[in-house]
């Protein structure tokens, strides 16, 4: 120590080694933690088959968890005002911190918080205790949107403007449902139930068999999600005509709870949609996590679920729904006629009635032998709205939609 002090006294410039080293250490720690989170970590786990993995996932007994999840969506959707508007920019001063203090001047429409998930990257806090009780909070800068379910109570809360929506869900136990059925219906139900898989393993087998014609399901390399070693189940569409490249589900190796889902597009190297825990524990959250009492000054809307069997729409002009399906499996394209009077139906006349038409007008125009319209080119799905009121949608490129439209047009 004395020698170091002496050395520093003789060469004062040597003191600068200390702050320089501190900068280096701080930078190294920051870079290393980021890299560690991103690194391909393949923990060694006992080998499993896809069927075993599916079976274990379906029979998991872990139903309680609390954690933080990150949702990233890059669907290639255009920036539509109102969808991304609720996400305020990061704090800036004087502008930013002031914006946090003052909020955005535009009044937010009710519960826009949920739709913010469609674009960009968001943080969720998740709590669950069994299938009946859950809470999901979407964290935004200086705000929050919560979805809280406690038995038959469902609450939606949005801190912006202090808005809440309360719904009472119908009790959904199978026994309750069965009591309301006629004897004939009950017989039918028994028959269907007989065909349903009675064990998770049977369910896994049926699922794999059903997927087998269109999808390759395999077990990928092991990974680590939120510190938990996990298996990865990879579903790859056999049809190369689809925009979906593959779907990867990371499944915790001890509890068999799915921890992360990545949907890859053929258009991007990074996942188009990624939902995964960054931090998770499988302990039961305290009961008061799921109780919600709107704070004083909250605007509460009540929503009641329609009771009884839904009535068939009586006033529709068409006798049968104008829906044509072309293609199979992942490359399925649905072509439908929009009902008259819908906001986009009057597009051909150029009447921009409502927000939908305005937003549609911003999409690039396309035309072909099938007519003309506007196309939405997403990373996982595309859609075309034609000027004659048809809409084509599918997990395929726009070109496939155009040929489907042409095909559907000749078919009529």
């Amino acid at each position: 120590m004395a020698r170091v002090t002496g050395l520093i006294k003789r060469h004062p410039a040597l003191r600068w080694v200390a702050p320089t080293a501190a900068v280096a250490v701080a930078a190294a720690v920051a870079v290393a933690t980021t890299a560690a989170a991103r690194a391909d970590d393949h923990p060694v786990l006992p080998a499993v088959t896809a069927e075993q993995l599916l079976t274990d996932t379906m029979s998991t007994t872990t139903q309680s968890l609390s954690g933080t999840a990150k949702v990233t969506a890059n669907l290639g959707l255009p920036q539509i005002p109102g969808i991304s508007g609720a996400v305020s920019g990061t704090g800036v001063v004087p502008g930013g911190a002031a914006s946090l203090a003052a909020g955005s001047s535009s009044a937010s429409p009710a519960l826009t918080g949920l739709t913010t998930l469609l674009t960009g990257s968001h943080t969720l806090r998740v709590w669950a205790d069994g299938p009946q009780r859950s809470r999901v909070a979407i964290i935004t800068d200086g705000g929050e949107s919560d979805v809280i379910r406690n038995g038959t109570d469902l609450w939606l809360w949005q801190s912006a403007g202090k808005q809440a929506l309360h719904a009472t869900l119908p009790a959904t136990s199978a026994a309750d449902k069965a009591k309301q059925l006629t004897p004939a219906e009950q017989q039918q139900l028994q028959k269907v139930l007989g065909q349903l898989p009675s064990t998770p393993q049977q369910a896994a087998q049926q699922l794999l068999a059903a997927a087998g014609t269109s999808t390759d399901v395999s077990v990928g390399a092991t990974t680590r999600v939120a510190g938990h070693p996990a298996y990865q189940l990879v579903a790859t569409p056999k049809d190369k005509g689809t925009l979906v490249s593959r779907i990867v589900v990371a499944i915790d190796s001890t509890t068999y709870v799915p921890l992360k889902t990545d949907v890859y597009s053929t258009q991007l190297s990074a996942p188009a949609v990624s939902v995964g825990f960054t931090d998770v524990s499988f302990t039961a959250p305290s009961a008061d996590t799921f109780t919600f009492t709107p704070p004083a000054g909250t605007t509460v809307q009540q929503w009641t679920a329609p009771t009884g069997t839904p009535e068939k729409p009586s006033g529709t002009t068409g006798t049968k729904p104008d829906v044509a399906v072309t293609g199979t499996g992942w490359a399925t394209v649905v072509v439908a006629h929009l009902p008259a009077g819908s906001p986009v139906a009057g597009l051909s006349e150029g009447t921009a009635n409502g927000k939908g038409a305005g937003a549609l007008g911003m999409l690039p125009a396309v035309s072909g032998s099938w007519g003309s319209g506007h196309a939405l080119t997403g990373t996982l799905f595309s859609a075309i709205v034609t000027t004659d009121g048809r809409v084509a949608i599918g997990a395929v490129p726009v070109e496939t939609l155009e040929s489907a439209l042409a095909h559907a047009g000749t078919g009529q």
Binding site: P19, A30, T90, V93, G96, G142, P295, G297
Partner: protein
């Protein structure tokens, strides 16, 4: 109540800095030789700190600065009170919540002042710390007495941190008093839609105060370093204020997203996370780590610079 302390001090003469500085020298002279036992060394250090604090609090402009910090929440509360109620926008903000609960005056004031007023206060204090004393010549006097330069620097830093805490506390207390008087203090609705009893909410507010203090402590380390670079206190003050403001501006440019995690100010508005239920720590944890990194780097840099600084005077 610490908030009232500077006001309660007897008004000192214009020559207060010199008097207080000589007091500091006296304290330093009283310090025992390094060979002495730990107990008197601690006592001597506390004396040094106390005289440094007295020097800081007795300066007229520092007292005026505290007054300005306290005025902001009062002005905000009055402005909201006299504003047309039909004009109250329903933003996702603390400001919008003030009407229903005076508690939010304190939070809104902290969020507003964290951008300019509080960093400016730190810039002023840290400009005085080394450069100011170097300019008026008292630093030279301090250095001839047997107080190691490192200990002197550490004392000045601790005084800056205490000053930061005092400044933030004054804002929060003034906000509570003004808000309480005009709107009343009620149980606090969190961003998560739960309601906190007032004592719990006040505890959360104290955590917010400490979080902001940690930010200012990091800025103080930077300020102390800048202060060792010059003998012009005004130059140091302007430099620190410019650095702070520049960081806030850079942090607002989305195209510089790669730079944001390295900026001291990036995680500071996360203080809103204290108002979630339960408290959401990850962003604030990163913010505190950033604060810590700035403190370590700039204190070491200040030490490296100050130890072989030529002090004229």
């Amino acid at each position: 109540m610490p908030a009232a302390e500077p006001v309660g001090l007897p008004a000192t003469a214009i020559s207060a800095p010199d008097e207080a500085a000589s007091d500091l020298q006296g304290a330093a002279l009283a310090a025992p030789a390094p060979a002495a036992v730990a107990q008197p060394a601690v006592a001597a250090w506390l004396r040094l700190l106390r005289s440094e604090m007295r020097l800081m609090l007795s300066r007229r402009r520092n007292q005026a600065g505290l007054g300005v910090l306290a005025a902001i929440p009062i002005v905000m509360a009055i402005a909201v009170k006299i504003a047309d109620p039909s004009n109250q926008h329903q933003g996702e903000s603390f400001l919008a919540s003030i009407v229903g609960n005076g508690f939010f005056v304190a939070l809104a004031a902290l969020v507003v002042e964290i951008g300019l007023f509080l960093p400016l206060a730190i810039a002023m204090l840290s400009g005085d710390a080394v450069a100011g004393e170097a300019q008026i010549g008292t630093l030279r006097g301090l250095l001839v007495v047997p107080v190691p330069r490192t200990r002197l620097l550490a004392t000045k830093y601790v005084a800056l941190v205490l000053g930061s805490f005092l400044g933030v506390l004054v804002v929060a207390v003034a906000g509570l008093v003004a808000g309480g008087a005009l709107f009343g203090l009620h149980p606090v609705a969190t961003l998560s839609g739960t309601t906190l009893a007032l004592p719990v909410a006040l505890w959360r507010l104290l955590l917010v105060v400490l979080y902001v203090t940690a930010f200012l402590a990091a800025l103080s380390a930077l300020g102390l370093f800048v202060s060792t670079l010059t003998e012009q206190p005004l130059g140091a003050t302007v430099a620190v204020a410019l650095i702070s403001t520049t960081m806030w501006i850079l942090d607002s440019i989305p195209q510089l997203g790669w730079l944001h995690p390295w900026l001291l100010v990036d995680k500071q508005v996360a203080l809103a996370d204290m108002l979630r239920d339960p408290i959401y720590w990850p962003t604030m944890r990163l913010g505190l780590l950033t604060d810590l990194a700035y403190v370590v780097v700039f204190l070491l840099a200040a030490w490296a610079r100050f130890a072989d600084k030529d002090v004229s005077g």
